[in-house]
């Protein structure tokens, strides 16, 4: 427990409480939400779809924050020369990375909470119809999916100097394919098929259904199962990567030269 709180404390201070995180959690989602609302207004719609424009913006902020903090974790340890020291310590890198990613996901969820508050308090989004239990379970499913993806990305990014650029091909494409700002049905069929490999896509679908009305049915249960299943596959892949990173440091000692 002591390790957990100390890691969370350090992680929150080092990676999350900086101004760039504010940009990712709040400013970028606000701009994207505003564009969505103005486009809706320009198209002659009587009101924007708050589920996609406002809450979708919050999800985007949560995702962008996770991508940048998690991909930065092991990379910055390597750059600052602390990665080998962590690997040499009695606590495993895997455990430390798991706690760090938890902190990243928890901190990033502030973006989603803020979006919910904006939707409910400012735009009077009605929650009277919402299926709160399903919404909370969906949110937990999404957070678990994000955590698995965060651990995977943290290990993946350590492989190459090109990793900084790979982020450019992760942040927006996932937002694009997982339907953060619009329903998946808007996408061409081939894009919808690609999007099914992202666990958050399934969690988002059930979350949106749940905040608009009763959602606890077989379809929702299947989507939760798919999301958790894909998340677990991603986590297993990250375990393989994690072992490779370990070997690069402890067996071949070549990580610093990559």
């Amino acid at each position: 427990m002591g390790l957990f709180t100390r890691q969370i404390d350090v992680q929150l201070r080092m990676r999350t409480l900086n101004l760039y995180s504010l940009l990712l959690w709040f400013i970028q989602p606000i701009v994207f939400s505003a564009v969505g609302m103005i486009l809706s207004n320009a198209a002659g719609n009587p009101a924007p779809d708050l589920v996609y424009t406002v809450i979708g913006g919050g999800i985007m902020g949560m995702w962008s924050g996770l991508v940048f903090t998690s991909t930065y974790d092991i990379r910055s340890d390597r750059r600052e020369g602390t990665l080998e020291i962590i690997v040499g310590s009695p606590t495993s890198l895997r455990k430390i990375e798991a706690i760090r990613t938890f902190a990243n996901v928890a901190a990033g969820s502030i973006s989603l909470i803020a979006a919910f508050l904006v939707a409910v308090l400012i735009y009077k989004f009605p929650l009277s119809q919402a299926d709160l239990l399903s919404a909370v379970i969906s949110l937990l499913v999404i957070l678990f999916g994000l955590w698995c993806m965060g651990v995977f990305l943290a290990n993946l990014m350590v492989w190459s100097r090109l990793s900084t650029s790979i982020v450019e091909f992760i942040e927006m494409p996932v937002a694009l394919l997982a339907g953060f700002m619009y329903p998946i049905r808007i996408l061409p069929a081939w894009m919808q098929e690609i999007s099914s490999v992202f666990p958050i896509r399934w969690g988002l679908e059930t979350l949106r259904t749940a905040i608009q009305g009763p959602a606890l049915n077989q379809e929702t249960l299947i989507k939760w199962a798919i999301s958790i299943g894909i998340s677990l596959i991603i986590y297993l892949l990250s375990r393989l990567l994690d072992r490779k990173v370990h070997d690069l440091i402890r067996v071949s000692g070549e990580l610093s030269s990559i």
Binding site: N18, L19, Y20, L22, L23, I27, Q28, V31, F32, A34, V35, G36, I38, L39, S40, N41, A42, A43, G44, N45, D49, Y52, R161, L162, T164, S165, I166, E168, F169, E171, M172, P173, A175, L176, M181, Y182, P183, I186, L187
Partner: protein, 265 residues
């Protein structure tokens, strides 16, 4: 005459070295990813947002996002180039050198202008080929003028943000915020007229707003008389920002020489 040649030489040497140093860490993959990754996928995201809102033709959004590309060079690139001097410990040497300041400072923009221009020349035909953008009425000469104007006028904000980056460790965050705000403010994804009134004032006070409007008209076949007022306004605003950027750099430089604090911020 020799003094003029020396200044021109200095301008281009500064331009070349500052541009190379910005991408010193880069491979072609890094270069293309940082230039086109986020903008390309953002454009697709906005296209689908537009489709969901009810717009069947995404041309407005495609053109706007392509015309925004030089802003990446003009704002982020120049800001990083100027701010990088301090980050890599070269600022003190720069400030102590007897070289004239105008080519030293303004030279940082040349290759970003060229880079932005070439990017647009590649992106526009790519949009025609891959996204089916209609250019049957295009006024090619005027589009070239508009694109070149845009590539130059974006630099003013880059110079200002570069100076801000010298003054603040969080300058990069402010630059990034501004770059993100462009998606909403300068008529990239929807006409400026759709913004609330006070944001329209902000939009017309920024470079690129009029340039993008002029480029859209030229792509639709407008003649010079229609775009001249917009291009003139764009050039005036752009020059104003460049002058403010240069003046603020000189001010910060003098203050730094007096206090010696710039490297310690």
């Amino acid at each position: 005459m020799r003094a003029v040649i020396r200044i021109i030489r200095l301008y281009f040497i500064q331009a070349w070295f500052s541009y190379r140093s910005l991408f010193a860490w880069s491979t072609p993959f890094n270069y293309f990813a940082s230039k086109l990754g986020f903008p390309f996928f953002s454009m697709l995201l906005f296209m689908f947002m537009g489709k969901y809102a009810g717009f069947t033709d995404p041309t407005f959004i495609i053109i706007g996002n392509i015309l925004l590309l030089p802003a990446l060079n003009g704002v982020s690139g120049i800001s990083q180039t100027v701010g990088g001097e301090r980050q890599f410990g070269a600022l003190s040497y720069l400030l102590a050198s007897p070289a004239p300041r105008a080519p030293l400072f303004l030279g940082r923009a040349f290759f970003h202008i060229l880079d932005g221009f070439i990017t647009l020349l590649v992106a526009l035909p790519a949009a025609v080929i891959f996204l089916g953008m209609d250019v049957t009425r295009i006024n090619l000469g005027l589009v070239f003028i508009c694109v070149l104007t845009l590539c130059i006028t974006t630099n003013g904000i880059g110079f200002i943000m570069g100076t801000v980056t010298l003054l603040s460790r969080d300058g990069w965050m402010i630059t990034s915020t501004l770059s993100i705000a462009f998606y909403m403010l300068i008529g990239v994804n929807f006409p400026v007229e759709n913004l609330p009134a006070f944001l329209q004032w902000v939009a017309y006070g920024l470079p690129m707003t009029r340039g993008i409007m002029a480029a859209r008209l030229a792509l639709n076949g407008a003649d010079w008389t229609r775009i001249a007022p917009l291009i003139s306004g764009e050039i005036l605003i752009g020059l104003l920002y460049i002058m403010i950027g240069y003046a603020s750099f000189r001010f910060v430089e003098r203050a730094s020489i007096r206090s010696g604090l710039l490297d310690t911020i």
